[in-house]
């Protein structure tokens, strides 16, 4: 494994979280490939792709764009005051790497804090990124987020774990 590539992939994951945490959401959306998926399964890590089980979120680019458009609307009432968030990432671990095909998979345990007004909630989870390299540029094909307590009763999660 080329350490430079590993470092580049890890930097990409850190950058992706940074764009969310600094609310640069159009730039964040631009990281996703055309047929990308942002997926938070209801049963967390226990859920297998294709299971007949729902998700907290299961979004293509259209639905992600809808979320981001909505957040810009001054009448997005739930954003008065705005929510803020912070990802605290563990070092991303490279699970699979196919440099020739430009396909990579990384696993990143994290803590996610979302705050609004005086209220703050913390979620723990693991992100699984499937990345593609196209025309020299890394893109997200799938970001799967397995939350530790995805199936429990949760308050609103307004941003992007």
């Amino acid at each position: 494994m080329d350490v430079n590539i590993e470092r580049e992939l890890q930097d990409f994951i850190v950058h992706e979280a940074h764009l969310i945490d600094t609310r640069q959401l159009d730039d964040w959306l631009a990281l996703f490939a055309e047929h990308a998926r942002y997926w938070i399964p209801l049963h967390g890590a226990a859920q297998t792709e294709g299971d007949a089980v729902n998700s907290l979120a299961d979004e293509d680019r259209l639905l992600l764009a809808l979320r981001i458009e909505r957040l810009k609307n001054p009448r997005a009432h739930s954003q008065r005051p705005p929510s803020r968030c912070q990802h605290v990432l563990q070092t991303p671990q490279l699970l699979r790497s196919d440099e020739a095909a430009g396909r990579f998979e990384l696993l990143t345990p994290f803590l996610y804090v979302e705050a609004q007004g005086e209220r703050q909630q913390m979620l723990a989870g693991t992100a699984r990124h499937r990345l593609l390299r196209r025309d020299g540029r890394l893109q997200i094909e799938q970001k799967r987020v397995d939350l530790l307590n995805a199936g429990e009763a949760l308050p609103a999660i307004q941003l992007f774990p």
Binding site: L56, D58, A65, A156
Partner: protein, 436 residues
């Protein structure tokens, strides 16, 4: 203060209700004791406990309960409490207990119907009063359990009407949902989306019948959907998500014309004529199967009945299409849990199940962009109701004195009769067992 029957009745006037209904912890405690003892609450669906020994543990009004499938196929609902020291007998939300129920603390065992089976050191109880007292009688079984087309309801107390008298014609809403299956069977599948909302449960329940909020409350979500869909030809096939979100932006006239119906005891149907769910793409092979199974007339009736929400007061809200239910679980005066369950419709194509799951995910997930605005406003209202100078919540829209004492009645879709009817039932069942 200490509430008595006439105090409760003063809190619910013909056209407005007192804010204490939402914010008073004392009223919440009285609800747990009186209101939920006298009314029928939805507990679960029999498809969640298919095999003997399967259980589903649910807390209703502070009582830990478990529904257990019996060896003879029947359903029992037991208090999830060991009669010995009070240990919960099952610790998970669902599972299978095997051939009998065994307490983890001292290994007392019970049959699946709760009857006592064995205790360790049996000889040590000889000559004691154990056998003759509550602790020796096994687990407490609920007396008032009704299974209606696989929907399981319980009434915690002995007062209040029987099941059929309580729901009456409101049960047709469950018929309309179940008859969406050509073989008349639904299965809970796909897991449950659970939300903690810091508001009173009645605030959520009245919102289920509120047709005037979508235009302003959900403006940001529908505007974003509209902007992304702009420029598409009117007949372009919509992605399912767009098909489900865009109608939230419908105008007052649309919601008014959908019509409502109230039934005695707080139940209702909103959208007796049509709703935001009426425009979902047709599925010809499914409709043919429905006609073959139910006959032309019933199939048409079922397929055209697509209400916004039907409320089986006070805990269950039903959508016939998509096939989904919401369950409201009060936790405190200012805290509730909302559950959204999806159904697989037996004998129907996969697309119906996908619709059900997608609708719940888009609209009732903790990450729903539609619900975010509702939930945020409810939580704000819960705090703002502590403002002084006005103790009342208005329910005046379309109030007419002649609606009082009416049983079943039809109304326009934006009529707050749909809410007044809930609060009148609240006062009735709250005060039923209270002292004068």
């Amino acid at each position: 203060m200490s509430y008595r029957r006439q105090d409760i009745q003063r809190l619910v006037q013909h056209d407005r209700v007192h804010r204490d209904l939402y914010i008073s912890p004392e009223l919440f405690a009285l609800e747990q004791r009186h209101f939920f003892a006298n009314t029928w609450s939805y507990l679960g669906h029999t498809s969640q406990v298919p095999q003997a020994g399967d259980y589903l543990a649910v807390d209703i009004a502070g009582r830990p309960l478990m529904m257990v499938r019996q060896p003879d196929g029947g359903i029992r609902v037991l208090q999830n409490r060991c009669p010995h020291k009070g240990s919960p007998l099952v610790g998970e939300a669902c599972g299978n207990v095997g051939k009998f129920i065994r307490c983890p603390y001292h290994a007392w065992t019970f049959k699946l119907d709760g009857a006592p089976l064995a205790v360790p050191l049996k000889a040590a109880y000889e000559g004691t009063a154990l056998k003759d007292c509550e602790s020796g009688q096994g687990m407490v079984a609920l007396k008032h359990v009704a299974v209606y087309r696989d929907f399981v309801f319980v009434k915690l107390g002995d007062a209040g009407p029987g099941f059929e008298a309580y729901f009456g014609e409101a049960l047709r809403s469950i018929d309309f949902l179940v008859d969406r299956s050509p073989v008349g069977r639904l299965r809970i599948e796909g897991g449950v989306l659970r939300n903690i909302i810091h508001c009173n449960w009645k605030m959520y329940l009245e919102n289920i019948n509120d047709t005037v909020h979508p235009l302003s409350t959900h403006e940001s979500a529908t505007a974003a959907a509209g902007a992304l869909w702009q420029g598409q030809p009117a007949d372009a096939p919509k992605p399912m998500a767009m098909e489900q979100i865009l109608p939230f932006g419908s105008g007052f006239d649309f919601f008014d014309r959908m019509g409502g119906r109230v039934y005695p005891n707080g139940h209702s149907v909103l959208g007796v004529n049509f709703s935001i769910h009426s425009g979902y793409a047709q599925v010809p092979e499914y409709e043919a199967a429905m006609r073959a199974a139910h006959g032309e007339q019933r199939a048409t009736e079922v397929l055209q009945h697509s209400p916004q929400n039907a409320v089986c007061f006070p805990s269950l809200s039903v959508k016939g299409s998509p096939q989904a239910i919401r369950v409201i679980r009060p936790l405190a005066a200012d805290k509730m849990m909302l559950e959204a369950w999806s159904f697989r419709v037996e004998g129907a194509p996969e697309v119906l199940f996908e619709r059900s799951m997608m609708y719940n995910r888009l609209v009732f997930s903790p990450m729903s962009v539609v619900a975010h605005d509702d939930v945020h406003l409810f939580e704000g209202m819960q705090r703002a109701l502590h403002a002084d100078g006005n103790d009342w919540i208005s329910l005046h829209r379309n109030f007419r004195p002649d609606e009082l004492g009416q049983g079943t009645a039809d109304c326009n879709g934006t009529n707050e009769l749909l809410m007044r009817n809930q609060f009148r039932a609240w006062a009735q069942f709250m005060s039923l067992t209270m002292e004068d």
